[in-house]
Amino acid sequence: MYTLAKRNVYASTIAEFLNAQLIGDDVIITHPTTYSDMVEHSISMFEAGIQQFPDVKNILILVEKAMDIDRPGISQIVSDNPRLDYFRIVNEFYIENIGQGIHESAVVEEGACIGRNIFVDKGSFISKDSVLSNNIKIMKNVILNGKISIGNNSIVKYGSVIGSEGYSFVLDEDNIPIHFPQIGGVRIGKNVWIGSNTTIEKGFLGETVLGDNVKIDDLVHIGGNCQIGSSTMITSGVVIAVNSTIGDNCWLAPNSSISNDIVIGKNVTIGMGAVVLKDCESNGVYVGNPAKLIKMKESPKK
């Protein structure tokens, strides 16, 4: 999804980009590395706990506080948030965009509404009822099935299925499970990230909804008619059964499970492996099986 592009960028240009001061020589920086792997002409950020400087020249390091360095050839930029600034530098100067367009092996059904700057990679399928806004990346082997809408700047990673038929059965008089017809859709907000091999079921009548800025890791399952609030982070292995509602700004740790018809408030943390069988109140931290409230957090600052 990202391609490293080695480019000759002066350290002073990087400093100007950050509106920061360059300390040291204006060296050419060609690529980013981890701090421990720094080589000549590379950039990294200083990681807490590391005591020594790399034994190479012509490098640039992002630091929280200017450091006394008794060797030449190590330049610094002081940053309030080195991690964020490092991301900005890498993204702007050393990552080449993937292209736009639809790969010839992808299938986009007639009637699908496709916005600008759309990338659809090999082997993906876009249904006729899909509505894709602008700047969306659909990576390899993704299925968009049924009525799917996706907001601007969203990404769906490899092998995910959006709008899969829900696991919704009713028993007939003979106790034989019959599949309940799934005719709803999935509405995905803007700036949403959906990890690889994730499944999001369509609503059986209404919609499954993911709010703006929701970030979903690889290998997540979200049942039909769930409502996921804005900026909620759902990590790998999470399973959310049908018809549950998760509030804004929640954090669902790996392998946590949410039962069906649960309501989780805003700003809730669900611990690793927790099994949520009851509603959770806003700002709570819940852990264990069954999940229990262990403490309350402060409300996030607005």
């Binding site: 000759n8 100007e16 050419i28 080449e96 736009q100 700047n135």
Partner: protein, 365 residues
């Protein structure tokens, strides 16, 4: 003292260094081809010779209040229909004669650019503003942020129909022009893109430069050149003829040939206006090049661009060193779209309220 401490720092991309080295090996450092490029970028002791030009900056047209942003600078407005945005003041290489070399560096955040896009499309501006010039600095060195800005304009300022981007990156380091740059120009329906290059010497049109020009053109981008008349670089007829012929062959429109501005440390680049007029007239006189390839000889003054026609110079003083130039700019109009704008001391108003501006001429050897 290192004289460069007080001066514009010498900064040359590895790409240009290689080209200079190759030219030096092939033709020697005295060749006009080497000098035509080297003089633009290499520090010269001529920069610190005493001169009449004392200004560190040339003109000021900042729009300081944009929606929620208090911008120190980064947005300029001199004209009704267009606005200038400078998202970054850095470039891949420093040109010694740069107009903005003494500006305080400031890079606009995505949030500021979003606010500028909303400002361009607000109720006050949407009737007037039609085009935007994104310049700097060189905006092409931060293509993702520029793409974000262009997307914001498409979304919040549909009145903007023409987006011009000023860049020297195709000459400074064409290896940095890849898909991230080309993405800016793709799939923005309803927008006409124009790319403003500045090519001062024909040798600057390297094979790599020509290749990216062709790629931009394949995307439907109109490319034009606005060049600067620089003593020792292109102030002879043959160089200009080759330059404009080559640009025409590359389907690059010739737009302005600017007189080099009166600014500190660049006196040695400045010809007289008379010399500039002779050269531009000489381009077409005698059928040297077609009028289709001829640039307009223009001056960037304290109040904006003035193209020199027969009756543009209306007075002279200081033994002819200062020229009074007539314009069609009106103070009242300018205040209408940029209330912050102040009439420079170099200006007077004529009987019709039009602005006339004094301009310091250069010198021929």
């Amino acid at each position: 003292m290192n004289v460069q401490d007080d001066l514009f720092r010498e900064k040359i991309s590895p790409f240009l260094r290689k080209k200079l080295s190759a030219l030096s090996d092939a033709l020697g450092e005295d060749s006009s081809e080497y000098q035509g490029i080297a003089r633009q970028y290499l520090y010269s002791s001529e920069e610190i010779q005493p001169c009449e030009e004392i200004n560190n900056q040339h003109y000021i047209a900042d729009v300081t209040q944009i929606e929620e942003d208090n911008l120190e600078h980064g947005v300029e407005r001199l004209y009704r229909r267009s606005i200038v945005v400078e998202p970054i003041f850095a470039c891949a290489t420093h040109c010694r004669y740069c107009l903005r070399k003494n500006y305080k560096s400031k890079t606009l955040s995505e949030r500021s650019l979003l606010n500028i896009a909303k400002f361009c499309g607000n109720d006050q501006n949407k009737g007037d503003l039609y085009e935007i010039l994104i310049t700097g600095g060189d905006p092409m060195i931060i293509p993702k942020r520029i793409n974000y800005f262009v997307e914001s304009l498409v979304q919040h300022a549909p009145n903007i129909k023409i987006i011009r981007i000023g860049t020297r990156l195709p000459m400074h380091d064409p290896t940095r022009i890849d898909h991230s740059v080309f993405s800016i120009f793709k799939e923005k329906s309803g927008i006409k893109f124009e790319l403003a290059l500045q090519v001062n010497h024909p040798k600057e049109l390297f094979p790599e430069t020509r290749a990216v020009i062709r790629e931009f053109q394949a995307l439907g981008v109109t490319i034009y050149a606005q060049n600067v008349l620089l003593k020792g670089v292109n102030d002879d007829l043959n160089t200009l003829i080759t330059l404009y012929d080559t640009l025409r062959k590359l389907n690059v429109e010739s737009h302005y040939l600017f007189h080099c501005i009166p600014m500190k440390n660049i006196h040695h680049f400045r010809t007289s206006i008379k010399r500039g007029l002779e050269l531009t007239n000489g381009l077409t006189a005698g059928g040297k090049i077609s009028g289709r390839a001829k640039p307009m000889f223009s001056i960037m003054t304290d109040i904006g661009k003035i193209t020199l026609y027969e009756d543009t110079i209306i007075d002279r003083k200081d033994n002819g060193r200062n020229l009074l130039l007539k314009t069609h700019y009106s103070l009242e109009e300018r205040h209408y779209w940029n209330p912050d704008w102040k009439l420079p001391e170099s200006c007077i108003l004529d009987e019709n309220g039009r602005i006339c501006v004094w301009y310091l001429d250069g010198e021929d050897d």
